[in-house]
């Protein structure tokens, strides 16, 4: 099985370079095959061919093969970049900030490295080494203070998925293929045609399809598998909710506070305050507000309206809403800060022109202000997502502790529960690798899609 996997990796490498200029083709294809083979061989070389062992499940086989192919793919991308550079066709690395890219160091090539070395050293010690250790740990059954650890290969990952290898492979592949197909369709059709609109709708659905595919791939529990599907769904709901609340609310408030009102400066300063509060404090604040026994919300609802508010922690919807409210509120100040800065740069001449042309407030907002803010929106989307993925642990821990029955236990909460509180280091590490991949995936997707639609104003 290992040999056929390696052959497949070599074929993948060859295919990767199949689209090169004809006169160099045979050599490139040969190199591609060799690189694909070598990189794929690194995986069993480092871990041992454990994924194909007799006791491994079929999902393990699939994951292991996927890991080998990923290694090949990464190596091939690097090789292609080297080739491209050698060919003189410098890849278009569009600079995000629109800064001028000419210039460069007129020194010996090692000088930049020397200047970077303090940063690199810190990164290696405090970021890369722990990251590599996390990957290693993720393949083990391990506990602090244990005399030994047990290698479980990819078992910590495969137990989070459904036990059906066909579904594990097919669903994500179909979803990704759909995304590529629809985006190709979108590019192939010309703008302002019906088929282009259709393609746009289809590509949106295709992206949603990825989330559906992942839903189908994560295990609902039972059969010795870990129920990760509920965690996935919860993470999705709370992340989307938090980011949407934080960004829409942030923009709305920033837009209002940006107007010329008396004491505007005071408002604007006060509005930023929630950001200076740590997630823990946000958790405590909302805990105090909504607590069914001692909370002010309960008291006021009863005193003023005679409503007996149910305990939010016992109701999945209320609990999730409370978490979204608390964590969305916490990031609100940050978003307002950036939107206020962004609004100052909305070209007033365009707005005035629009006023003269008779555009309504709403039209001015959607056609001029929003596009002008798109770089900030894009930046905030990335930071808000990162916040929602990683930093709402404390808020959840104070408000619900994952209640009711795990309905507010998002991925990061689950990682800490499993890896830290229960001391199951391997599983905790595996889940954090999963979150790591998710963040990389989301970020890549954002850079690909949002990047197309972001306008950077007068950059040139």
């Amino acid at each position: 099985m290992l040999i056929s996997a390696l052959v497949a990796a070599a074929a993948f490498g060859a295919a990767f370079f199949a689209k090169t200029p004809r006169h160099r083709k045979p050599r490139r294809v040969a190199v591609g095959a060799a690189v694909g083979l070598a990189a794929a061989a690194v995986v069993p070389g480092v871990m041992g061919p454990c994924g194909f062992a007799a006791e491994a499940s079929q999902v393990d086989h699939v994951l292991f093969f996927g890991l080998m192919l990923t290694a090949s793919w990464l190596a091939l991308i690097v090789v292609r970049m080297i080739y491209d550079r050698a060919d003189g066709a410098a890849p278009e690395t569009a600079s995000m900030t629109g800064e001028i890219r000419s210039g460069g160091f007129r020194t010996k090539p090692w000088v930049p490295w020397l200047l970077l070395s303090p940063t690199l050293l810190i990164l290696v010690v405090f970021l890369y080494t722990p990251a590599v250790q996390t990957f290693t740990l993720a393949t083990k059954l391990a506990r602090l203070g244990a005399p030994n650890s047990i290698d479980v290969c990819l078992g910590n990952f495969s137990e989070l998925l459904v036990a059906d290898p066909v579904r594990v492979v097919a669903y994500p592949l179909v979803a990704v293929a759909a995304v590529y197909a629809t985006s190709w369709w979108r590019r192939a059709t010309s703008r302002e045609t019906v088929s282009h609109r259709l393609a746009e709708v289809a590509s949106t659905f295709a992206v949603l399809g990825i989330f559906v595919a992942l839903y189908a791939v994560f295990s609902p529990g039972g059969d010795g598998q870990v129920a990760y599907r509920p965690v996935y769904v919860t993470t999705l709901i709370i992340t989307v909710g938090t980011v949407a609340t934080g960004m829409v609310g942030g923009l709305a408030i920033a837009y209002l506070a940006f107007r010329n009102i008396r004491g505007g400066g005071v408002y604007r300063t006060l509005l930023i305050w929630p950001y200076a509060i740590s997630p823990t404090v946000a958790g405590i604040l909302f805990f105090m507000i909504f607590d069914p026994t001692a909370g002010i919300f309960q008291y006021l609802a009863e005193a003023w309206f005679g409503i007996d508010v149910p305990n939010y922690r016992e109701n999945a919807v209320l609990a999730q809403a409370a978490i979204i409210l608390a964590s969305g509120w916490k990031i609100l100040g940050y978003n307002i800060l950036f939107y206020l800065a962004g609004l100052q740069n909305v070209p007033t001449s365009q707005v005035e022109a629009a006023v003269i042309d008779g555009a309504s407030v709403w039209q001015r907002f959607t056609k001029i202000v929003l596009p002008a803010l798109s770089p900030i929106t894009f930046f905030l989307l990335v930071t808000n997502l990162t916040y929602a993925f990683f930093e709402i642990y404390a808020t959840i821990d104070f408000m619900t502790k994952g209640a009711p029955a795990g309905k507010t236990s998002v991925a990061i909460y689950e990682i800490i529960r499993v890896g830290v509180n229960n001391g199951d280091l391997g599983r905790g590490a595996a889940q954090s690798v999963l979150l790591f991949i998710a963040v990389i995936g989301v970020t890549l997707w954002q850079f690909r899609t949002s990047g197309e639609r972001v306008t950077y104003g007068g950059a040139g």
Partner: protein, 474 residues
């Protein structure tokens, strides 16, 4: 364009600074307490042995007591410096201790909880040596260390038996409690309940009356959804949680989450919740929420740890109602076997030199000498850990003054000394407790079938235990 990007970076830097200020202070354990030894002695004598004492308390009352006693010890023995460091939880203490052993700067004593006894016994450092050393062994039959009389022999039976593993009393008990019930007797009497209920059936009967009152409270009874109460109930019913006599005649390799005792208890619990008698705060291990509900008179009865007897009794008085403590209600259809302890002990780190080890042992015995143990009991409600401390409290007339404080000790003394009432020694107990708690929350919130859900939990718990045994049992 230029100015815009500069503005951006300014905000980014600002953001980082604010984030660092906001988030940084939360996760850090409290800084080591200042060495409270008299400065003069420390400076004059270069031979001061510093012994780290890592505790899992961070509240003023309990951490304050600890620091005060450490300072008294340091004043009495200038050649020693007991340095108290506070952590947020037992797990944090343990993890930090294991890592400190591996990095070569371990503390001398750590504070670790009962359910993790197996884990502490099994823990080894990177060099393969055990992390902890048996206190009995380290004392080696001495009846005095430095000037401190050894109090280990005077420790009350329930605690002694719990922490004795393979014939060796391993760690020095400190905060020890049991699960007891607190009743708002004013409310019960108003409902026509004159006697505090003692069995499940009596609780239900009392609740029926309480909830029938015209100004009935939100619920009748509550307790934290913590596996400890489940374990207490199994002990009462004489039911084992794990094989090999609850892991006491050999290593436990199987847990029983589907025993009759377990199903009866969880079903009774669910029944109370279904009738609206039991108030679930919605959070697992919710000590604060349940106590608040009781003190806000939203429930008439609270099953809780005796550790807060003093606090609950006084707070009830301040809120204008009488609090009566009583034994934890039991299943009246079965013979009562016994409740178990809860709490934590002090573990002695392995591999200290003779002087440091004696200092640590002397401190442990000083810390729980009759006067200190009695004081600890009075300010908290944890049981007086030694018989001598009990006798002292008795002679001072403390129990006549505050009868609630005696309930936990009496309850533990009433227990038969069987493996069931001692409680289980179990690997991965923290994770298994988590599995139990989650299952019960699932049952309470989502109205699931008790037997089915507990069977599922049983599979998970046994898997967890098997993995632990594969790592440690080998």
């Amino acid at each position: 364009m230029r100015s815009r990007s500069r503005l951006f970076s300014l905000f980014a830097v600002l953001g980082l600074v604010v984030a660092a200020c906001g988030g940084g202070t939360t996760a850090e354990p409290e800084a080591p307490a200042e060495a409270e030894a008299p400065a003069g002695t420390a400076a004059g004598d270069g031979d001061v042995t510093t012994i780290g004492f890592w505790v899992a308390f961070s509240d003023e009352a309990r951490l304050g007591f600890t620091k005060e006693k450490a300072a008294e010890f340091n004043a009495k023995y200038p050649e020693y410096n007991i340095e108290v460091t506070s952590f947020a939880s037992y797990n944090d203490v343990f993890d930090a201790a294991v890592l400190a052993v591996d990095s070569g700067e371990p503390p001398g004593i750590i504070h670790f909880f009962e359910a993790a006894t197996r884990q502490a016994l099994d823990a080894v450092g990177a060099d393969g040596q055990p992390i902890f050393k048996s206190v009995t062994e380290a004392i080696g039959g001495r009846d005095k260390i430095l000037d401190e009389p050894v109090v280990l022999d005077s420790v009350v039976d329930a605690a002694r038996n719990y922490y004795t593993v393979d014939g060796s009393f391993y760690s020095m008990p400190w905060n020890t409690s049991s699960a007891i019930m607190f009743s708002n007797t004013d409310m019960l009497e108003a409902a026509g309940v004159m006697e505090v209920p003692s069995t499940w059936a009596e609780v239900e009967a009392a609740c029926e009356k309480v909830m029938a009152m015209p100004n009935a409270p939100a619920g009748c009874i509550t307790w934290p959804n913590h596996s400890w109460f489940v374990e207490q109930s199994l002990g009462q019913q004489g039911e084992l949680l794990a094989n090999n006599d609850n892991g006491r005649s050999g290593r436990a390799t199987e847990v029983y989450l589907t025993s009759d005792g377990m199903l009866d208890y969880v079903s009774w619990w669910k029944g109370l919740a279904d009738k609206g008698y039991y108030t679930y705060t919605g959070v697992q291990r919710d000590w604060d929420g349940t106590a608040n509900a009781f003190l806000a008179q939203e429930v008439a009865m609270l099953i809780y740890s005796s550790s807060d007897t003093t606090f609950l009794t006084n707070s009830g008085k301040e809120a204008g109602f009488d609090v009566q403590a009583s034994f934890m209600p039991y299943n009246g259809e079965k013979e009562y076997v016994g409740n178990l302890i809860g709490g934590a002990t002090l573990w002695l780190l392995n591999g200290m030199d003779k002087k440091a080890e004696d200092g640590a042992l002397a401190f442990m015995n000083f810390f729980s000498n009759p006067e200190n143990a009695a004081e600890w009991h009075r300010i908290t409600g944890y049981i007086p850990i030694t018989k001598d401390a009990e006798a002292l409290l008795q002679s001072e007339g403390w129990y006549d003054e505050s009868p609630n404080s005696k309930v936990a000790s009496d309850q533990l003394a009433a227990a038969q000394n069987t493996p069931a009432s001692l409680g289980a020694l179990l690997g991965n107990f923290v994770a298994i407790r988590d599995i139990i708690t989650i299952a019960i929350e699932d049952i309470l919130v989502n109205d699931l079938d008790v037997a089915e859900r507990m069977a599922q939990a049983n599979v998970e718990a046994n898997k967890s235990l098997a993995e632990y045994e594969a790592l440690f049992g080998g």
